[in-house]
Subunit: 505 residues, 2 copies
């Protein structure tokens, strides 16, 4: 067996264990009886430990070292094909990230994280930031240590960000978020000057069974392959990959707010279509190359389907008649335009996960700024609540009444995750840039949506974004596909055009 093949084989074994873990995790969230939780935790820990062992096997390190020298001479006689060189990049990165952290740090951090999360749940419940502050400090310290282990030559935030957005840096993200913030604040300001939309009909009662039927309808409309996945209900919607032919999604049915399941199903379907669309060729199959280019690119898929497609006028021109039938009487007497405006209502709010397309980015930008400042030492943990509240007023014009609906709302920092937040907003930017690239390449996605031809959009995304998995870093991918680096102007133009119509600006 050639070294590269042996590497793929070892990688596939770790991947298989990851998929088994995903199956156990999916079951835990969907159907597992409550009394089984302790045993399931032991089973999951066992599988994860084994997967980690496989992924960090010294044999992989030796193969990477051996193959590494070849990588350096792409045109030499012993050179490897481009795809193999990309694979070595991906594997080297994963291996380093998994092996560079001392076991002691990993286990200390796991224990501290578990305590931090428990303290956060409590602090949020009792609106007591002070009780959580020492844990947050500890999480920051551990993240600095992690960054120092992974790459002491770089700034900590850059190292942490790179784990989710390969090749990204605080400076690059700031250069994108800066102009984006200005534009979002300006657009929000213009919307504020207009009469607010009445979306009260969205609160009409709609039974879970009807919502489930609607979810199934929209999954079919998006060409989600039901032979390779399924939809179930969970407390929090998610997408999980149990294998290249088993990508499951979940949703939840809120009986007095049907848009919740509607758009979460479309959102998760977007994630699943990405996973299902990765090249099944032997170089990808069951390897680490069959993963998303980045978290932000993943989010570009879910948000493109949820918002750019799913909240467009053309989409509902096509699908509102069917929805009317399926969830009757929930939208009886509601016209297309009224429906379209209601699902696109913009309203500054306190909670990120409930935010609309315009304000969502501002929530993320605030978190990006604050976590960067905390990591650089420019902002102390004790000053976080005040800085948060000031930021909310400045960006969104609203102020939390307490920290529970302020800086304690997200689980990310309590679980020690710094550098992840930007992905949420970058996803929207990638999405808008893909959309404009379709147009530049002769596909009119808006017309396709109006004609109910979602297939041509999916085909384009498959060929250009899905198929190559993690072969390209996100920055390389966007240049390759659109001919330019990531540029917020696509998203800004999209929002300005859309909301000019929605609010008559």
């Amino acid at each position: 067996m050639k070294p590269i093949e042996l590497l793929r084989k070892l990688d596939a074994e770790a991947k298989l264990l990851e998929h088994i873990g995903a199956a156990l995790g999916w079951d835990q969230e969907t159907y597992m009886p409550s009394g089984a939780i302790d045993e399931r935790a032991d089973q999951l820990a066992y599988v994860e430990t084994l997967a980690h062992e496989k992924a960090t096997a010294p044999e992989i390190g030796r193969l990477l070292d051996e193959l590494g020298s070849t990588e350096a001479e792409p045109s030499g006689p012993g050179s490897l094909p481009t795809i193999d060189r990309a694979y070595l990049r991906v594997m080297r990165r994963k291996y380093d990230q998994a092996t560079k952290l001392p076991a002691e740090l990993v286990s200390e951090m796991a224990r501290a994280t578990s305590l931090s999360q428990a303290a956060w749940v409590d602090a949020r419940k009792h609106n007591d930031f002070k009780a959580f502050a020492p844990h947050l400090s500890r999480m920051l310290e551990y993240n600095k240590k992690v960054a120092a282990c992974l790459d002491p030559s770089k700034r900590p935030y850059d190292v942490l960000l790179d784990r989710f957005e390969e090749g990204g840096s605080e400076e690059q993200v700031a250069s994108i978020f800066g102009p984006l913030r200005v534009e979002l604040v300006a657009l929000l300001d213009r919307i504020r000057g207009k009469p607010q939309i009445d979306d009260s009909f969205l609160r009409r009662r709609c039974p879970a069974a009807a919502q489930a039927e609607a979810s199934a309808y929209f999954m079919r409309a998006l060409s989600y392959d039901e032979k390779r996945g399924r939809l179930d209900t969970t407390a929090h919607p998610f997408t999980t990959t149990l294998g290249e032919s088993d990508v499951r999604i979940t949703t939840r049915y809120v009986e007095d707010f049907f848009p919740s399941s509607l758009f979460s199903t479309i959102h998760e379907s977007g994630h699943a279509l990405y996973e299902m669309g990765i090249d099944p060729a032997p170089e990808y199959r069951r390897t680490s190359l069959a993963e998303a280019s980045s978290m932000a690119v993943h989010e570009s898929q879910s948000r493109l389907w949820e918002n750019t497609v799913g909240r467009s006028l053309g989409f509902w021109l096509q699908h509102l008649p069917a929805l009317r039938q399926i969830i009757a009487p929930a939208v009886d007497g509601v016209g297309l335009d009224e429906f379209y405006r209601a699902i696109n209502k913009v309203e500054p709010s306190l909670i990120r996960t409930e935010a609309d397309e315009v304000t969502y980015g501002l929530h993320v930008i605030l978190r990006f700024e604050l976590e960067g400042r905390m990591l650089s030492g420019d902002l102390s943990v004790d000053d976080l609540p005040a800085a948060w509240n000031e930021g909310m007023r400045r960006l969104l014009g609203v102020a939390p009444k307490n920290d529970a609906e302020g800086c304690l709302q997200d689980i990310h920092w309590p679980m020690g995750s710094f550098g992840y937040f930007p992905s949420y907003a970058l996803g929207n930017l990638y999405g808008a840039q893909w959309w404009d690239a379709m147009k530049a390449q002769g596909l009119d996605p808006k017309a396709a949506v109006e004609l109910g031809d979602l297939g041509s959009i999916l085909s384009w995304l498959r060929s250009n974004v899905h198929r190559s998995g993690s072969m390209y870093k996100p920055g390389e991918l966007v240049e390759k596909v659109t001919g330019a680096p990531l540029d917020p102007s696509h998203f800004v133009r999209y929002l300005n055009d859309k909301y000019a119509g929605v609010y008559g600006l």
Copy 2:
């Protein structure tokens, strides 16, 4: 760590992998999307191989050898508690069965079995026994080899039977089945002299949703712990153990025959109650001691609940009113006696799995006789169809029109399983003997059922049968609990009493 504790730890690791395999298997049968089958097969094979490696680790052999000498001197100074000695018996037996077969034989046999099963599916479809005969011969040969590897000093059938019924022998089973056969044939003959029961109302349409509600009702009635298990639907009902606190059952809903789901749910609940009732003490927890005493004892639990309890007049005196409500109008206008007689209709038929309480044992006895004769060389494979048909006429008075509804009906022989069939009938005998032991020990189970007090029956079974897991061999268990060896007269008396009433004999 003491050697016995180390042994438990190694055992628990193999057990955990078994449970993970059960979770993957359960998912495959219930919710897995069809396209995932190939990957799931690889995942299951991986987990099973790993579980086998753990269960056959040389370390276990060394520990057993080390501890074995202690076992021999139960009263010596270094002696072990009774429960530890029982554990060593169980582990030694498992370890020997898993390690005594040469790897080459195991893999050859796996390949041959897979071909045999495929040939059987085809032969059954085309009613072509001749095409399957060479595979059956091969399965017999492999089984003889297996028996020779496990214990060359014993007769092959005894070795094979012992795998499912520890300590059993062909001679012992024959001595039980002999008188049982005579009694069953005589009872059947008397029933034949009476007018047949009209059970046509059982074919009234009953929607799956109503049947599901009935299943849930009866699971609650039996005290099935819904925090430690759940019910789902599959093509063939089964019980599976994903952990000591996760024992799931399945059923299927036949809309024009509601008794199918009703009694299969009760049957599988009986299996699950056994698994859930095993002692959770540290000596048992997640070890091989937390397994059933034998397949037949397992079957005694499912059949006791399904038939002795679930098809009794007292049970329906208590529960028919509720069933009426739940599955209305399926049993509208049907009186208690009419219902009771219909669910106990006796009718000789060709297919074992559809047989009633009286004829079921005769199907099993025929298979026991034929597989014993084939293994001893007394019956050739080519002569099997004729011997089968002759046996059916002799025992049941019916004759298959073809081999598909004759000797090709069961999957057991095609999959190389010989010595398993007796467990099905022995289960009924154990069940009747437990029932009579309850009476002898002052509990009146019939009165308890009539009063809706199933809890006292469950308590008795837990204390006497469930709790000890595989601490006792089945022969030891029945002696310990009832004061006598397994004796078919309990079951015979039960049937004669019951059917005297049902048919007015």
